[in-house]
Symmetry: C2
Subunit: 152 residues, 2 copies
DNA sequence: ATGACTGCAAACTGTTTGCAGTTAA
DNA sequence: TTAACTGCAAACAGTTTGCAGTCAT
C-alpha cells in the first residue's frame, strides 16, 4: 500500500502531522468510522488534534478521492479508505454494517453508461434488512437490540 | 392507487387534515422531496401546518412503510412515495437525481439471503458520476454548476 | 517569509422534543 | 371524553466557519 506521506506529497498537499495521522488511522481501520470515532482513535496516538481539523481533512480526503463517505440510517456520516470495491448490508435491527462483493455492478455501470450517457464514477449497492442474529431475536420475541444502533 | 384516507384508516392512524395533505403531496409528486420542500408545497394548499408536524409525520409514514427515505450527497434527507422499485443516478456535477430500473437486484437479494442468511427487506443501487450535461460542461471547460446542487 | 493549516469557540443547519392547546374517534 | 395529534419555541447533534496563531515549504 502506498505510504500516506507519499500520497500527500503526490497530491500536492501539505504533509502535516494531523493529516498523516488521520489518513493512517482511516487506512489501518478496516471498517467505517464516523468523524468522532476517528477523532478519538487519532487522539489516542497524538493528543494535539481538534475535531474541526478532522472535519476539514475528511472533506479534503474525500475531494482527493482518498476515502469514501457513507450515510446509512443514522444521522452522522461515516468514512472508509478506498480499497477493493464492496457493498453493504445494513441491519435494521441492530444497525450493524456487513460487507459483500458482487461482480454484476461492473456490467451495470457500462449499461448505464451506454444507455443513458451517464459517466459512472462509483457504484454502491445497499441492501437493508435483518442480520441472522436479529432474525433469531425477532423470532424468539425478544426486544430489538439498540446496542449498536447508533455507532455501528 | 389506494386513497390516502383509506390508507390511514387501514393502518389505524388518525386521519388528520395534515396527514392527508402531506401524503397526497408526496404521492402526487413523482420525484424526491426533502422536509422543507414538502412543507412549502403543502402550505400552498393549506396554510395551517408546522414544520415539526412534517418531520413527525415523515417519521410515521416511514415506519408504516408508506414512503422511502434517501440521503444522497447532501446534508438533508429526502423522501418519496413507495411505487415501482427503482434506483438512482446521482450527478456529482449538479446534484440532479435520475432514476433507472434494473431487474438484476432480485437475483442479488436471493443470493445474499441464501449465502449470508441476511433477510433482505429492500435493495438500493446508487450510481454516482456525471450526467450528460455536466460532462459536456466539463469538456468545454466551464465551471461546475452549483445551481441544483442543494435542492436537486 | 508567507500562505496553508490548525485549535478554539461560536455559528449554522437539519431535526427532535416539551408543553399547552386542539381535535378525531 | 380523552388520548392522539398539533403548533410553537426552545433544544439538540453534527458540521462548518471566522479568527488569530503556528508551521511546512
Amino acid at each position: 500500500m502506498t505510504k500516506t506521506v507519499t500520497l500527500l506529497n503526490k497530491l500536492e498537499q501539505r504533509r502535516t502531522a494531523q493529516r498523516v495521522l488521520l489518513l493512517n488511522v482511516i487506512r489501518e481501520n478496516k471498517g467505517h468510522l464516523d468523524a468522532v470515532q476517528l477523532y478519538e482513535q487519532a487522539r489516542q496516538q497524538q493528543s494535539v488534534l481538534s475535531l474541526s481539523t478532522v472535519y476539514r481533512n475528511l472533506k479534503l480526503f474525500k475531494e482527493l478521492g482518498l476515502i469514501k463517505e457513507h450515510q446509512f440510517g443514522n444521522t452522522h456520516r461515516c468514512y472508509e479508505s478506498k480499497g477493493q470495491s464492496h457493498h453493504h448490508l445494513v441491519c435494521l435491527g441492530c444497525g450493524k454494517i456487513l460487507e459483500f462483493r458482487c461482480q454484476s455492478t461492473e456490467k451495470l455501470k457500462s449499461q448505464i453508461s451506454s444507455n443513458r450517457g451517464f459517466k459512472v464514477i462509483d457504484a454502491e449497492v445497499r441492501l437493508t434488512g435483518y442480520c441472522p442474529e436479529c432474525q433469531n431475536r425477532l423470532i424468539h420475541g425478544q426486544k430489538n437490540s439498540e446496542e449498536n444502533k447508533e455507532r455501528g
